[in-house]
Each structure stands twice: as C-alpha cells, then as structure tokens.
C-alpha cells in the first residue's frame, strides 16, 4: 500500500506510478489544517483513498473526524492544505460543486428533508443527474415528463435496494430511525457518486442492523463506489475496511490495514489510555 509521502504524490502526477503504486488515488488529502480558535481540529493530516477501497477514519471523540468530513465535502474551508479528487483540487469549492464532481455523503445525525416523502427525498439525489430548469418547470414543458418519470423510477430502485420501498410515500418524520437511515443512504446513492462519505453509518443501530449496514457497504463497494467512513463500531470497521486512518487530537497517528492497526501500540494507548 502506498504511503502518503510527498514523494508518492509526485509520482502520481507524473503518471509514472511504479508496480506497487498501481492503484490510483481517488482522493488525496495533503497537509490539511483546520483550526477553531486555538483548537487544531485537523492538524496537518495527509492520506490517500484509492479507487475501489473501503477506508475508515477512526479515533476517540473530538479527534477531528467529522471536521475532516466537512472539509472534504466543502462545508468548512480549510486553513491550509489541499484536497484532490480525481486529480482536481476541490478544496475551496462549494458543497454543491463537490457533489457534482461525484462525492456524496450521509450525516452522523441524519439530515433528511422534512415535509417531504421518502421518495421525494431520494428524488433529490437525482437532482444532479437531471436538468429541467426554472422555466421548463414553470411551463411544465413536455420534454421534462420522461425525465421526471425516470427520476421517480430510479429513486424507487434505490429505495428498494435499501429495503425501504414500502415507505416511499410516507412523510420522512413518520419513519423509524432505521428507515430514515435507509432513506438517507438511498438518497446518497441516487447521486451515483464515485466516492461515498459515510459519517457513522452504524450509530444508533443494533448489532443486527449494524451487520446489515456492513453487508450493504460491501455491496456498495462491489458496485464500484469508493467508500470513506467514520465509525465508532470497531468490529464493523475491522470487518469491512481495507485500510484505516487513526486520528487523535486532530493528528494522524497511524494508517494501515486493520490487522496492523489492532497491534499498533500508539493506537492502543490512545484508545485505552497509557497508564
């Protein structure tokens, strides 16, 4: 597995990746910094996410995981550092522009559109994959009809994939927590992302639902989508991740395959305390 040193980066950009670097970095994070006042929430973090892998970011509470996600998705500006996606710099861009590039996400505390049905929520995921504008909408131009129909069909497919098709016409606040999580997943997938950011997908789920989510994430990866997730459930992380990045107080303290992370003394110390 490639290290995230500056040397490797240059190799990628020159297109002269050596044998062991064959995998292409889909997302490259370079020396990323974000401060909140005196707090270094993300401190000089660098790592790559290769195409087609499931990568997990773990760390104790307050390690900067969610901040990192918000930086990648464009919800927060970085103080310094760079984020490349598909070799194009994306930091400094607006969230909707980043979404259009192919990054979709879910939230730790589910953010769905209230006052809308489950189906309508997922249909929003098709927004960037369709194009009827203001005037076309107001005049209800006939060419938008097949597009609307397609949006609806596709969205139903994604609801079905997540096993929540029966809630399609239910207003979102009338759904159970698990169903809402399913709808949020469906919405994220409906954008047909290249990279999916999952912020604690198993939070609030029981062990069976967690296992279900684990299988789902594997399936998503199987369909060619790269996954970056933040998660507290260690058994889930160890089971499904190809690589793990460990953050502590905003700094990256380890990056390795799950087996090695479990043996890593510093990681153990951070999680269990060093007394």
């Amino acid at each position: 597995m490639p290290a995230d040193s500056a040397g490797n980066k240059i190799k990628y950009h020159l297109g002269k990746a050596s044998k062991e670097d064959e995998q292409v970095a889909l997302l490259e994070i370079q020396n990323l910094n974000r401060r909140f006042g005196g707090l270094r929430a993300v401190n000089n973090v660098s790592f790559n996410v290769e195409q087609g892998m499931i990568k997990a970011v773990i760390g104790p509470n307050g390690a900067g995981k969610t901040t990192l996600f918000n930086l990648i998705a464009g919800n927060l500006p970085a103080n310094s550092g760079k984020i490349y996606f598909n070799n194009a710099q994306i930091n400094g861009r607006k969230p909707y522009q980043i979404a259009k590039q192919g990054i979709s996400r879910t939230y730790q505390n589910i953010k769905l559109f209230h006052g809308m049905t489950a189906l309508e929520n997922v249909m929003l995921g098709r927004h960037i994959r369709s194009k009827a504008g203001f005037m076309a909408g107001m005049l209800n131009l006939p060419w938008t009809w097949p597009e609307e129909k397609k949006i609806k069909e596709k969205s139903m497919e994604y609801l079905g994939l997540l096993g929540v098709a029966e809630c399609a016409d239910t207003e979102i606040s009338n759904l159970s927590f698990g169903q809402q999580r399913g709808v949020e997943f469906a919405r994220a997938l409906a954008t047909e992302p290249t990279l999916l950011l999952l912020d604690e997908p198993a939070a609030g789920l029981n062990i069976y639902e967690t296992a279900e989510i684990g299988r789902l994430i594997m399936k998503i990866r199987g369909s060619g989508i790269t996954v970056l997730l933040v998660e507290h459930d260690m058994s889930l992380v160890m089971d499904i991740s190809d690589e793990i990045v460990v953050l502590s107080f905003g700094e990256k303290i380890a990056e390795d395959i799950p087996h090695n992370i479990q043996q890593n003394e510093e990681v153990i110390r951070v999680y269990l305390g060093d007394d």
Binding site: A73, N75, K94, P95, Y96, A99, K100, S104, R105, Y107, K111, L112, F113, H114, G115, M116, E120, N121, M123, L124, G125, H127, I128, S130, K131, A132, G133, F134, A136, G137, M138, L139, N140, T144, E147, E148, I151, C167, D169, T170, E171, N174, L175, S176, Q179, R187, T191
Partner: protein, 363 residues
C-alpha cells in the same frame, strides 16, 4: 393522472370565478366585482410570496416594496408629461420607436407619455433587477436577520415613494390612464369595463397559479422544498441553494410588481400606503393563515381577507386585524387554518376514511 389532479382544482376555480360573476350579474350586485378584482391582484402577490416562504423557506417583509416599484413606475411613466423633453436623446429615441403616446391632457394640453405596455415591462424588469441585486447579499441571511433586511428594503422603498416629487410624495400618482392589453381589452377602473377587468384579474391569478403549481411539482420545486427542509443537505446533494433562493425571490418580486402595475392602472393611481410596511406584514399574515406551503390556502385566504378588508369590514382597525391574525395563527395554527388542500379535504369528506394517517400508525 398526476397532471389531471393538479389542474382539476384550477378548472374548479375557473368555474367559481364565472359563477360569481353570473350571480352578481343577476342579483345586480356587480359592485362587488371591484373589490374582487382588487383582491385577485393582491392574491397574485400572496401566492408568489407563498412559494418563496412556504416552499423556499425564505421570509420577505418587503414585498409591498416590489408591488410599489411596479405600480409607481408604471404610474409615473404613463402619466408624467415628457413633452418638454421631446427633443432630448433618450426620449426622442423612445418616441421614434413608437414607445410613447401622444394624447390630450385633462385641460386640452399636449401630453406625451410612455406606452403602458412599455411602462409595464420597464416596471416589472426594474423590480426583478432590484430583487436580483439585493437578493444576492441578503438571502445569505437566515430567519430574523433576513426578515429584518427585507423589512429595511421595504422601508426604503416606502420612504422614497413618500419623499420623491417624481412619485408624488404623500399624494402618490393619480390620473393614471388605462392599460390597453389587447385591442378592446383595457385595464382601467372605467365603470363599463368592470366585468372585463374582473376577468383580466382572474385570468392573471389563474395563469400565476398554474405556473406556480407546475413549478412546485417540478425538479426545481423539489429542490426549493429541500432547501426549506435541510439547506446543508440540499447543498450536499448538488443543489445550488444560493441560486435557487435568489431565483424564487426574484420570481415572487416579479409577481408582486406585475400585480402592482395592474392595480395602478385599474385604480387610476397609487399612493404611498401601497408601499407601506403594514402591507408587507399583511401579505405575510395571509400566507401564514393559508398554511405557508399551500398555494390554494394562500389564494383562498388572500381573496377572503383582502375582500373583507376592501369592503371595509375591519373598519379603521384594518392593520390591527392583520396583526392579530398573524399572532393568533402563529400561536394556535402555525400550519395555517386551511392546512390540507381543498382537493384532499373534499376527497376525505366523501371517502370518510382519513388518508395516510392509518398506514403510518402501523409502521
């Protein structure tokens, strides 16, 4: 099927409009048509604001300002005599391309004014451009701050109308001529044109309703509602929230300005009270009573409340009544008193079974 469902209430509305006209004709109460015409125009402002507030989730306490921009510009351009400026660059250009009309003034003097169609377009475009210009910065604000910023805009427009000689200061503009829409069809307060004006106003309402119903059921409408639901997530789904908010703000301003133009021609004038802050509050109150994200509710309440107000039912407590309505609605029925759309109400009345709620309980 969906389309049919969307347009059936529109046909129903059309039938009611015709029925009311016929009833007033046979009962010889055609004087009601005057207030119904005015109410219709005000309702165009209200439903535009309804889409901005209820669907886009953005409040505006400045819509009387846009109404006034439309009304005042159309009034001033079609009324002020340009005779003395006839040989100056821009005016002579307008004259040459036929956008000015020569007529005889009240006392027989030569009057050179802007053609109402041209004035209407200038007025509405100006309102739209102003909305575009101020919308960019102020729509970044949320909640109270946005309310205050739009309120500030409304006050500025009101003060300009009140202070500027061109706009007639406290007297406003009067003697505004009719607006010939098509040969033989004239927007004016002329006694004989009462029935045709009633239909012009309601034609405008129906077109506005159809356009807005289409919009909220489209891809863009869904995006607008998502902004209301969770702006951050909407952005993360690739919705350019800032742009959509701006578009819907401009659209509602254009609706308000268009209503302002027509009301001014219909009344033959406009005064500063049309630009007043209380007018804006009134529009917001009506949208709230109608149930925010409910075009039909806003339309019905817009007609009923404006009609009562114009008939003088609330007497000199007019503004106070709308203030009280706003407070009562916010306290007791924040979803509006016509929460469900009339179509659903009618359906559930006949089928007796409450739709949906039963299914939800079993989940």
């Amino acid at each position: 099927m969906d389309l049919l469902k969307r347009y059936i209430p529109v046909l129903f509305l059309l039938a009611v409009v015709v029925a009311i006209q016929l009833v007033t004709h046979f009962t010889e109460t055609t004087y009601y048509l005057t207030q119904l015409t005015m109410s219709a125009y005000y309702s165009v402002v209200v439903i535009g604001l309804c889409v901005l507030m209820g669907y886009g989730g953005q409040i505006s306490l400045g819509h009387a300002g846009f109404f006034a921009i439309g009304g005042y510009l159309a009034g001033a351009l079609t009324t002020h005599n340009l005779m003395t400026l006839k040989n100056y660059g821009f005016v002579s250009f307008l004259d040459k391309v036929g956008l000015l009309v020569d007529s005889k003034g009240l006392y027989g003097g030569d009057l050179l004014t802007v053609e109402p169609w041209a004035a209407c377009i200038i007025a509405v475009l100006t309102a739209g451009l102003i909305a575009f210009a101020i919308g960019g910065p102020i729509l970044k604000l949320k909640g109270h701050y946005l309310a205050m910023a739009t309120l500030g805009f409304g006050i500025i427009i009101y003060r300009i109308a009140l202070a500027s000689q061109y706009f007639g200061e406290a007297d406003g503009i009067s003697e505004v001529p009719g607006f010939k829409l098509l040969p033989g069809i004239m927007v004016s307060g002329n006694f004989g044109a009462r029935v045709s004006n009633y239909y012009i106003a309601w034609g405008m309402v129906i077109i506005a309703v159809i356009l807005l119903l289409n919009l909220i059921h489209s891809r863009v409408g869904r995006a607008l509602r998502s902004i209301h639901g969770a702006e951050e997530a909407a952005n993360a789904m690739g919705v350019n929230t800032a742009r959509y908010k701006l578009y819907i703000f401009v659209l509602s301003a254009v609706f308000a300005a268009l209503a302002g133009v027509f009301v001014t021609h219909y009344n033959g004038g406009i005064g500063p009270s049309e630009a007043g802050v209380m007018k804006s509050v009134r529009y917001v109150a009506i949208v709230a009573v109608g149930g925010m994200a409910n075009i039909w509710g806003a339309l019905i309440m817009g007609i009923v409340l404006n009609f009562l107000s114009l008939r003088g039912v609330f007497g000199s407590y007019d503004d106070a009544v709308f203030g009280v309505i706003l407070i009562v609605i916010m306290l007791f029925a924040p979803q509006g008193i016509l929460r469900i759309n009339p179509w659903q109400q009618l359906k559930s009345f006949f089928t007796a079974a409450a739709p949906k709620s039963g299914e939800d309980a079993t989940d």
